[in-house]
């Protein structure tokens, strides 16, 4: 079958403004958007620029806007889109453009780093040197938010983040949640204090864009709500 991609192109060395270019080529219904981008780059236009690595949805490199929705190019098969029409491919929003589909992720990672996204427990280790104990139920409590691959699809789908990228954004909150609700961690209070601040969780307007955008199907809105509740109630159940 034939498919047409309408891709937002921007080369800072040549272009004053971004512009769309169209590419029509043969493809299979089971091809991923990433496969189509690779074909264009390989055979038609080597200047087309995008990030990619694992090609199966675990590295988080290829988040982009496909028909107006944030997705991973490597997890979006043509057969799930209406290929009778042009497919629009654009960079994710809210971060500075670098070139074509590549944006500068610095702000995204800086926001992530603000929420203490690491395990904290300075208590003595078990005397036998073995693992800290954690019940399967305690482990399950934060399972969903351990799936995050930091692709940025959620944060760059968030209207609040678009308006003001000092808001830490859904991805950072997900990664804070992962530690706040880990029974072994001891820095929940500090993280909750950060997230109660003006760049924190109360900026969320529950647009649900993040949950819809997540390629890992993390229930992000729920995680955000749980963090809000923990701040308000002071409880971590």
């Amino acid at each position: 079958m034939q498919v047409t991609l309408k891709i937002l192109r921007y080369n800072p060395e040549k272009d004053a403004q971004p512009h769309y270019e169209r590419y029509t080529l043969d493809a299979e219904p089971t091809d991923r958007i990433l496969d189509v981008l690779e074909k264009i780059k390989a055979h038609e236009d080597g200047t087309l620029t995008f990030r990619r690595s694992c090609a199966h949805g675990i590295c988080g490199s290829c988040a982009m806007r496909i028909n107006g929705r944030n997705r991973l190019a490597c997890k979006t098969l043509l057969q799930t889109l209406d290929t009778s029409k042009e497919i629009t491919v654009e960079p994710i929003l809210g971060l500075p453009r670098v070139k074509d589909l590549v944006v500068d992720m610095t702000t995204f990672f800086d926001n992530y780093k603000k929420v203490m996204p690491y395990f904290v427990n300075d208590e003595p280790l078990p005397e036998d040197g073995r693992e800290r104990l954690q019940s399967p139920e305690e482990r399950e409590r934060f399972d969903d938010t351990t799936k995050c691959i930091l692709c940025g699809a959620c944060t760059t789908a968030c209207p609040t983040f678009w308006a003001d990228n000092s808001y830490v954004g859904p991805s950072a909150i997900v990664n804070a949640h992962r530690f706040i609700f880990d029974s072994r961690d001891r820095a929940a209070a500090e993280r909750l204090k950060i997230l109660a601040g003006e760049s924190g969780v109360f900026r969320c307007r529950t647009a649900f864009n993040c949950t819809e955008a997540c390629p890992r199907e993390i229930d992000i809105t729920k995680a955000i709500a749980e963090v809000k509740r923990a701040i308000i109630t002071g409880r971590l159940d």
Partner: protein, 599 residues
């Protein structure tokens, strides 16, 4: 003319996967350290590892590091160095606990301990039955290791240069003195002056057509080292994982079989019974991949096609668990529900639904062997010091760890879960030893032309006046290597592949790329990476052609038996004046005499 910026760190680490990050955590405690990575660290391929990391914790049933050692020696088809294997397997429990102490969210037993599952080739040495040794976090263990190590690096304020592609290693007076990298965003060259350099750039599965490996897996570290006149070890041994998604190559973890899944041919037979009567579907990967090729060759692929079924539907798992007499730790019969499978293998189920439209708890998965892991690589000793020759001469200041290194703990075939173990054990060793070396060494004076070789490589691509497309050359290489230097090999085929690779290398001199800009020029860097893959493919084919026996992942129709008399030795390959020079060094044997390998 590109501008050059200079930085100085005592230790520079190239690559930010599991080995690089583990090295960074340790090196940065003692020495000024920078990590240089062509990807954001969390994009690294460690994150794609699924099933587990092995350690004889004995959390569910009796297990011992001695058994893990023997299983790894046997799995390596006796080519692994036994001192290194013993070191790794005895370190394993300590390192897994260390990861847990860093917060890694392992799955748990009812007692709250780290949960473990069976994996191919890991056995109770007394009963010969599979043992639960693989510590896991669902089917995203690698993801959790990568995230946890990156999180700890943030906590410890490690310095990163993200999206910097290292192009060259600087050697002064025979010692490592730094690296040269290009900053993707600007196209600027950077010289990193260092006392010690750790190579941790991962593998090169992108040499082959069907692979589980990321686009980024282009053997950069190995190719860079080879260009400095240093050898690569055991390059003929590349693992084909039995279960890649048909046509796409995406990995389906061996953990599926650990949880009771079985391989089925077109006649509905569980064919592994014939090839590995004791552990069946949980035999070593080389054994299973060969069995699958034989099944397909003899016409028992599904519908005569080049794939088989991996079946983890509860009714199938329960049927064969009963036949095998598999039990739970409390002695009750092993039985699973669809819900339990979904909980244990969520990513696998997601991949199959996304890419195949198949729900693995309702339908079997179409699978074929997929190029997966480099057993060979940059030769090192147990301290991760890089070796310059067959006598074990150390290259001062140069270290390698993880998949791009060859210690050798995997020999001719790696056991599942030992790769994650390898990268944490030897990543840590690299960080410790490189920092120790650096604190006692001086900076070598940097030559004025330090960046010249890196720049000349890029200029050659940018100024190339031909009309060959890089993608065409890459596609021909991948096809040739898959066909002729894959699971089964012959003299004639390997010679043809070697000739073909040399022809492709000649054509590579006449490429044309479209992008001549400075900003994020992936056209340029992809071409440079394909150049690396061609070098790696050539060394692989030449090393394979010379080894006239079958051992582990190197299986020849014309020499079907292992030949310990002549070939119980490691290959070292140099590229000199356009030719591959091969030399050999003995395998380190300690406790285990080579014997026939039966699963």
């Amino acid at each position: 003319m590109m501008s050059v910026k200079t930085h100085q760190y005592e230790v520079v680490i190239v690559g930010a996967g599991g080995a690089g990050l583990m090295a960074a955590l340790y090196a940065s405690q003692k020495a000024s350290t920078a990590v240089i990575s062509k990807l954001y660290p969390t994009r690294s391929h460690t994150g794609a590892a699924q099933g587990g990391i092995s350690a004889a914790l004995g959390n569910i049933e009796e297990d011992r590091p001695e058994w893990h050692t023997y299983d790894t020696v046997k799995g390596s088809d006796y080519l692994g160095d036994q001192d290194a294997i013993e070191f790794m397997c005895f370190k394993a429990p300590e390192l897994v606990y260390e990861l847990e102490h860093m917060g890694l969210p392992f799955d748990r037993t009812p007692e709250g301990r780290i949960l473990q599952r069976p994996f191919g080739g890991h056995t109770n040495n007394e009963t010969g039955k599979p043992v639960r040794r693989a510590c896991h976090a669902a089917d995203r263990t690698g993801h959790m290791i990568l995230q946890t190590l990156y999180q700890q690096c943030i906590k410890n304020d490690v310095t990163f240069f993200d999206e910097f592609q290292v192009l060259d290693l600087i050697m002064v007076n025979g010692k490592a003195a730094g690296v040269v990298a290009i900053e993707l965003a600007t196209g600027d060259l950077h010289v990193f002056h260092a006392k010690a350099v750790i190579m941790a750039t991962g593998g090169w599965g992108r040499v082959w057509e069907i692979t589980s490996n990321a686009y980024a897996y282009t053997g950069d570290g190995a190719a860079i080292v080879l260009r400095k006149g240093l050898p690569l070890e055991d390059m003929e041994f590349f693992q084909f994982h039995p279960t890649g998604i048909y046509k796409l190559g995406i990995l389906i973890t061996e953990g599926v079989r650990g949880e009771g899944g079985v391989l089925i041919n077109d006649k509905g037979e569980r064919f592994m019974e014939k090839y590995a009567p004791h552990v069946k579907d949980l035999a070593s990967r080389d054994v299973v991949s060969r069995a699958m090729y034989i099944e397909m060759k003899e016409g028992r692929g599904i519908n005569g096609q080049r794939y088989l079924y991996l079946d983890v539907r509860p009714e199938t798992v329960n049927k064969y668990a009963k036949i095998d007499g598999r039990t739970n730790p409390d002695g009750t019969p092993y039985q699973v529900t669809a819900e339990e499978i979904l909980h244990k293998l969520p990513d696998i189920i997601d991949f199959c639904k996304t890419y195949l439209g198949v729900d693995p708890v309702k339908e079997p998965m179409p699978v074929q062997p997929t190029a997966h892991y480099a057993m060979g690589g940059i030769p090192t000793n147990v301290k991760t010091e890089v070796l310059a020759d067959e006598k074990g001469t150390v290259v001062p200041g140069l270290y390698a760890a993880g998949e791009n290194a060859c210690v050798s703990v995997h020999g001719a075939n790696r056991l599942g879960t030992n790769s994650l173990l390898d990268l944490v054990v030897f990543g840590k060793e690299a960080g410790v030893h490189a920092a120790e070396y650096a604190t006692g060494a001086a900076f070598e004076p940097l030559p004025g032309d330090a960046a010249d070789f890196a720049r000349s490589q890029l200029d050659a691509i940018l100024n190339s006046k031909g009309n060959e497309r890089v993608a065409d050359i890459a596609a021909e290489m991948k096809h040739e290597m898959m066909d002729k230097v894959g699971v089964f090999r012959t003299e004639e085929g390997m010679q043809e592949a070697l000739n073909k690779i040399r022809e492709l290398k000649e054509r590579f001199q006449h490429i044309h790329i479209d992008d001549r800009g400075k900003t994020f020029n992936t056209d340029l860097l992809t071409a440079w990476e394909i150049g690396n893959l061609l070098d790696i493919a050539e060394v692989t084919a030449a090393s394979a052609l010379a080894r006239k026996e079958s051992r582990g992942a190197h299986s020849r129709d014309d020499y079907p038996k292992r030949d310990d008399q002549n070939w119980l030795k490691h290959t070292l390959a140099w590229r000199r004046d356009g030719e591959i020079e091969l030399r050999y060094k003995p395998v380190v044997l300690t406790k285990y005499e080579p014997k026939e390998r039966v699963y």
